[in-house]
Every structure is written in C-alpha cells, then in structure tokens.
Amino acid sequence: MNPESETKSATEVIEAAQTKAVRHWKVVLYNDEDHTYDYVVALLVAVCAMAREQAFRCAVEVDLCGRTVVYYGNQEDCARISGKINTWGADHRLLRSRGSMNSAVEPN
C-alpha cells in the first residue's frame, strides 16, 4: 500500500473520530403556533450563526415536521445554544406571543 495514502487514511479516521466526538449532541427546536417564520429566522441567524436561507429552511422544516435540528456540537455548546433559544423572548410580531420557543439538547 502507498504509505502516503495510508497516512492520509489514518488522518481521515482521526478527523472523523474527532468530528463525531464534538457532534455527539444536538439542539432540537420544537414548533408552536405562537411564533412567526420571521422570528425563527432571526433567532437562528443570531443564535446559531446560520445564513438566512439556511435558517428559513429550518423554519419550514419545524413548521411541517414539528421539530428540526438547529445545531450539532458538544454537550456544553448545545446546552448554551438551547439556553439562548429558550430565553430569546416572545415574538414581538404577535400580540399573543408571550414567551420563547422550546428547544432541547439530545444525544446525536
């Protein structure tokens, strides 16, 4: 076997293991009827550093499926992100909106 390809392969294996280790957890956002698409997009852009287009696709997914994964990472980062989502506040566009959306940290 070519030593170079063997080395590369080993590096890839290590990287894959590291990636898997830091993506062991995920943040799941749950749908409700008290928030708008605008709210979800602004939230995900600010909290999860998503592009607006990506955030909008997540908004459509949570609307249609009831939940969407908005972040992958280690447990600590996921807890931080989920905490921000859960305390982001009401949707100012809707009078009836009185609180944040709900999210949870789950093992990936």
Binding site: V60, D63, L94, S100
Partner: protein
C-alpha cells in the same frame, strides 16, 4: 408556526394582511387565529381544484394527504406552477397532510442534484411571500410596542428581550417619543434603558 400578520399596531386597527386576487375571491394570506382556520377551510376546495388542474388530475388530489403521496419531483413541479400568492396555502395543505420528515425530504428534492433548481426556487419564492421585508430605516420598537399596551405590564415584560436587543439609537428615539427623556443612553446601556422604560410605566 405562523406567517407574520403584519405590524401589530397597524394590524389591530387596519387588519393589515396580505391580499391576493384569485378567481374573483379575495384571499387573506397572513391572518392568524380562528379567522385563518375558517378561511383555510373555505378555500380548501378552491385550492384543491386549482392543484388538480395544475397537476393534471392524475393521481387526483382529493385532500391534503394526497399531496404527500406525490413524488418529490411532482410536488416541486406543482409548487412551481402555483401562483406565489397561494404558496402559503399550499404549504398549509402540506402541513395538514402530516407527511412529516418524509414530506420535508421531498421538498428538499430528496437531495438529488436534478431537483436542486426546483428546490431553490420553491424556498426562494416562499421566502419572498412569507418573510417580512427588511427595512433598516424603521424603528422596531415604534412598530411593535404599541403605547396602547403600556398599561399591561405583564405584556410589556414579555417584550424585555426584544427591547434589549435593539440599538441604543432606536431605544433613545422610542423613549424620547413616549417619555420625557432628559438623557441619552449610550451604547451598551440597554439594561439601564429598559429599567428607565419600565419605571416610567410604573409611574403611570
């Protein structure tokens, strides 16, 4: 989740919603709550007829659930033919079909390269229909915190995070218009400005 009904303070007095003319019927695309559900039910047959016409009626779409049974390509093509004003209704149909994750995969074109153009087009058109146009010149606090609600402290408290996320210039403008603001808050003083705002409301 809901489509933005419009600026709240205008919404309550003018019922500002998105309108679309279709078949001589005036559609209210963005209204929320009970009215939206009644409206959706009333429009269901009309939209089903339209979808069947666009789709060619084979297989027939008799109810929202039938939409989810179509292939990814069929759904995306049907959506592509749908007038933009009706996109929120069609998405509502898709939601009612309870197709869940499988349906979303179809909307994502099953991640096939050949569907990418239709997928991008759908999300682009839907984005344009349901998202509020961004206008940086508007002060969000003046748009969304209605002085008529100042007496409802419980409600105002739910807007604390929103208030504190605004720029200090917008906060100063908002406080200056509604209160006798003899000082200008400086950048980073959002908490202080919020306390000033809430204390002023307590005085009333």
């Amino acid at each position: 989740m809901l489509v933005n009904p419009g600026r709240n303070q205008k919404y309550r007095t003018q019922t500002r919603v998105q309108f679309a003319k279709f078949g001589g019927v005036c559609l209210r695309g963005g209204k929320v709550g009970v009215l939206q559900i009644v409206y959706f039910r009333a429009m269901e047959q009309l939209v089903l007829d339209l979808l069947n016409t666009l789709h060619g009626g084979n297989p027939p779409i008799r109810e929202p659930r039938d939409l989810a049974l179509l292939s990814s390509k069929q759904i995306l093509t049907l959506i592509d033919l749908t007038p933009p004003e009706l996109l929120p209704l069609v998405v509502r149909f898709l939601k009612e079909s309870r197709g869940g994750e499988r349906l979303f995969e179809k909307l994502m074109g099953e991640h096939e390269e050949e569907n990418r153009e239709l997928v991008d087009k759908f999300f682009g058109r839907y984005f344009a229909m349901v998202m509020e146009p961004t206008s940086p010149e508007e002060n969000p606090l003046l748009c969304y915190i209605d002085p008529e609600m100042f007496h409802d402290l419980a409600f105002i408290q739910t807007r604390e995070s929103f208030f504190k996320r605004q720029s200090i210039a917008d906060i100063n403008e908002f406080l200056g218009i509604h209160f006798n603001l003899d000082q200008q808050f400086v950048a980073g003083e959002q908490d202080k400005a919020w306390n000033f705002f809430f204390n002023e409301l307590l005085k009333v």
